[in-house]
Subunit: 389 residues, 3 copies
Amino acid sequence: MNDNLKRQLNELAREPNPLFRQDFLLTWEHDLKAFESVLRTAEILKSMHQQKLSAKMFDSGLAISIFRDKSTRTRFSFASAADYLGLSVQDVDEQKTQISHGETVRETANMISFLAEVIGIRDDMYLGEGDRYQREVQQAVRYGYQNGILHQQPTIINLQSDLDHPTQTLADLAKLRDYFGSLEALRGKKLAMTWAYSPSYGKPLSVPQGIIALMTRLGMEVTLAYPEGYDLLPDIVDQSKQSAQKSGGQFQVVHDMEEAFQNADVVYPKSWASFRVMEQRRDMLHAGNQEGLKQLEADCLAENARQVHWECNRAMMDATRDGQALYMHCLPADITGVNCQNGEVSTEVFDQYMPHTYHQAGFKPFVIAAMMVLSKIENPGKRLKKRCE
Amino acid sequence: MNDNLKRQLNELAREPNPLFRQDFLLTWEHDLKAFESVLRTAEILKSMHQQKLSAKMFDSGLAISIFRDKSTRTRFSFASAADYLGLSVQDVDEQKTQISHGETVRETANMISFLAEVIGIRDDMYLGEGDRYQREVQQAVRYGYQNGILHQQPTIINLQSDLDHPTQTLADLAKLRDYFGSLEALRGKKLAMTWAYSPSYGKPLSVPQGIIALMTRLGMEVTLAYPEGYDLLPDIVDQSKQSAQKSGGQFQVVHDMEEAFQNADVVYPKSWASFRVMEQRRDMLHAGNQEGLKQLEADCLAENARQVHWECNRAMMDATRDGQALYMHCLPADITGVNCQNGEVSTEVFDQYMPHTYHQAGFKPFVIAAMMVLSKIENPGKRLKKRCE
Amino acid sequence: MNDNLKRQLNELAREPNPLFRQDFLLTWEHDLKAFESVLRTAEILKSMHQQKLSAKMFDSGLAISIFRDKSTRTRFSFASAADYLGLSVQDVDEQKTQISHGETVRETANMISFLAEVIGIRDDMYLGEGDRYQREVQQAVRYGYQNGILHQQPTIINLQSDLDHPTQTLADLAKLRDYFGSLEALRGKKLAMTWAYSPSYGKPLSVPQGIIALMTRLGMEVTLAYPEGYDLLPDIVDQSKQSAQKSGGQFQVVHDMEEAFQNADVVYPKSWASFRVMEQRRDMLHAGNQEGLKQLEADCLAENARQVHWECNRAMMDATRDGQALYMHCLPADITGVNCQNGEVSTEVFDQYMPHTYHQAGFKPFVIAAMMVLSKIENPGKRLKKRCE
């Protein structure tokens, strides 16, 4: 164990744990102390892993994942985190279960949880539903625990909902802290969260919403940029404005990519659908309106196609501070000339920043592990120190 | 470790283990001593889990599950049991394997078992086949072990067949013991195992068959009730009669739900298909007779629809002893007004007993773990005591 | 720990480890020392398992499998090996991941590997592509490790490619060593690697290619036999000729099954497609040429049907040395009268050698575990000895 790790462990052991017995659904339900604990614990776990130290906190127990949308990195991040701590991953495959046979969410949630420590849920397809579903599961296991059905209450971790993507945005924050040296150093730094063109449509809003909601709380100067019509949820935009005021940061909305990039220290160009489209899509999906969906997709792609100039390329990057802003992406990106004809980012820019975006992704397993550890163990600093001795 | 747990462990350590090196396919292949060992071991493991004590009996090894039908609670119960004991779950996904490429059961069973400790199998779709398949696997691994191909013989656990569902019925028995205080207290208690209306058709017979076969052996007064035509396998009905005679219990068949509920201490209302329908269905499935299957389903649903009054509601419950019988269900239930228009049980009754049915389900992972432990370890009492010290 | 195991562990501890930090893609990229290390380590692990000794070398970490073709024994062998060493298996299900959403191989490989120790890949469907894909993954994780993205470089293990199937052929070699007493005893033994009739078409070439490439290096007299037109990749055939010359063995190609069986000590009759067919098939698959594929299959099956006499039956076996050659197969075999009307082998011969083919398969989990251990641990002899004390 090196000195830095020892110091971090001592600090963690001294601090109160604001996340003990807490779920993690939305960053705006937690205060800055909670983020600091997550980042510190994630950093500790990352160092321990690098130094080949064991972080087995559990002797057994399930970490259950429910993915209602495709996933590679979040799936493997969750599995890696669970395994590193000693939990076994069990995926709820809704095709293979009897959920379609008429089980209620309350019932299923309890039935799978008798020996479960954690439940991670991705449900980002339906606007107004993903977060609601996660809360239903949360209520269900709380009921089970309070009624003596479950010996323990599994922690719910949001692996992406219609509202927020906290394991992503806290991994992003970990990257920013690493890049700029400290959270304090983020104050006044300019971050451009911008829409970018993609040949697909209907990408979730959770990342841009999560980024503006989180980064405005850290005193950053956040610019949200998108073509007219690609709005995010108004509540989250309003809340970001207020957060910026409170934190001494700034928040503005513009409709021009280059304007947003002006003097930016960080750019995060990424495609998303407008929430109005997401609403129509949800209603059509529920109604089984295949014709409507086809038409909606065609309309959106046509609309999208008018925005093909929203591409993060060298010329755009030149507008940023010294032409050297940090380029961020949650991956996978639509890269012009690689996996599409025109995409969110040019090959040149993507390749230049590849080690950075990969490194950014590398924080996610440890952020998830940190959420697990903090929720389950009252003083993880003490416990982890023992593993390192 | 609390005193009750210590006492239980000492008793288990003193007793002979009737299940050492035994598979668990049908309750009627085992004697009452075996059930007592399973229930005691399950109770110990449940207490240990509640007291956050480790029950890691295995350092490595696979627990293989083969699900030929959808499953949530049994799948997760099996996975939880395996994980708690230190085994890793591997599911045989028949879509992803080469079984369709012409492997024989003997071959597959050996090929997956080189490092397997346990194989759990659900195969309840085809009357006359599920149990046979489990025995084929049993023979196969016995061959492998006897011929020096396998270093160990994996224990076969029936996770539901066409005949029996022992992990369910022993969990049910654990619930009854818990509810009434002891197995002895079950003598003379009246249990009504009744058919109930469901808008689906073709549900397996294994639960009602398993319940009448098991509970008649414990001196209970078992009434089996169903509309004319919804017979169970005659062999199992006959055997239940004989068991009741031997145990000093009673067994009768009636064709009226209310009659069965009269003064019952326990009611278990649940839909199933008649075995004659299951036979026709099996033959049509084998013949790929899609037209026939559609017609059979239509006929059965029409027949079912005449039995919509077989619903467990407040009025029915009022007929039971003091109107307060214990309502049991293996879940998921078809609940009127929740997941269907008319179902097996009214919302009111289901909600009233929800903590009980959930609690009932909570025994299953520990019953399965008990079967694993007893089969694999000669004196599990001694071994588990060490884990608690 | 018995004496033989102790002796083997001491020898392993003394030897240099030629596979430390090495991937295992093709046998011809490794020298004989490497095979000896794999076989010795596999034997040690097999003995340890038989003696119920723990071989937990890892406290945590993922063993990732990517199966681009169906698999039972390799899937379970990989899972068993990983579990025995303390790694958790995570399967990349390309349906459930975002790979179809445009991720590059480089990206996916890194995203899943943050806590991965091993990646096993089966990709044998497309001639000229399986090996290339494995090397892409290899390059990707090397990039990740060198750029500080991954804390460790996961070992790539070929679980079958278009070129070779090293975990199979080394398990085969382990069986041969066990059967004949030593590797030295294989010198001059005659092995017939022959095509055999199967009612299916398009089986991979990796096993026959891997067998001739490997066994010629051990001084065996290898005869490759197939009907005109069912050629293997010319490069590998040429290389096998040269290997035989170097090793003092022999290599010849004939077009008559019986001729190949003459005085053979070992026969390995197995169906495959010619590489020309595999090339056409690949191109048609890529072009989505369904009509062409149907026609190709029909043509091949018609062509196959003319070769129905290439069956390993008693009469054929009578031609071998004393009529008692060892019959080998990688399983599953097409057995006449069992899973097809006419197949690769008669029931009589298959049944006679069943314990041998099953035993042969039983080496695979330990060969895979040996590859993992040798690649990850500089001196596994020392480490495993500690586990046995």
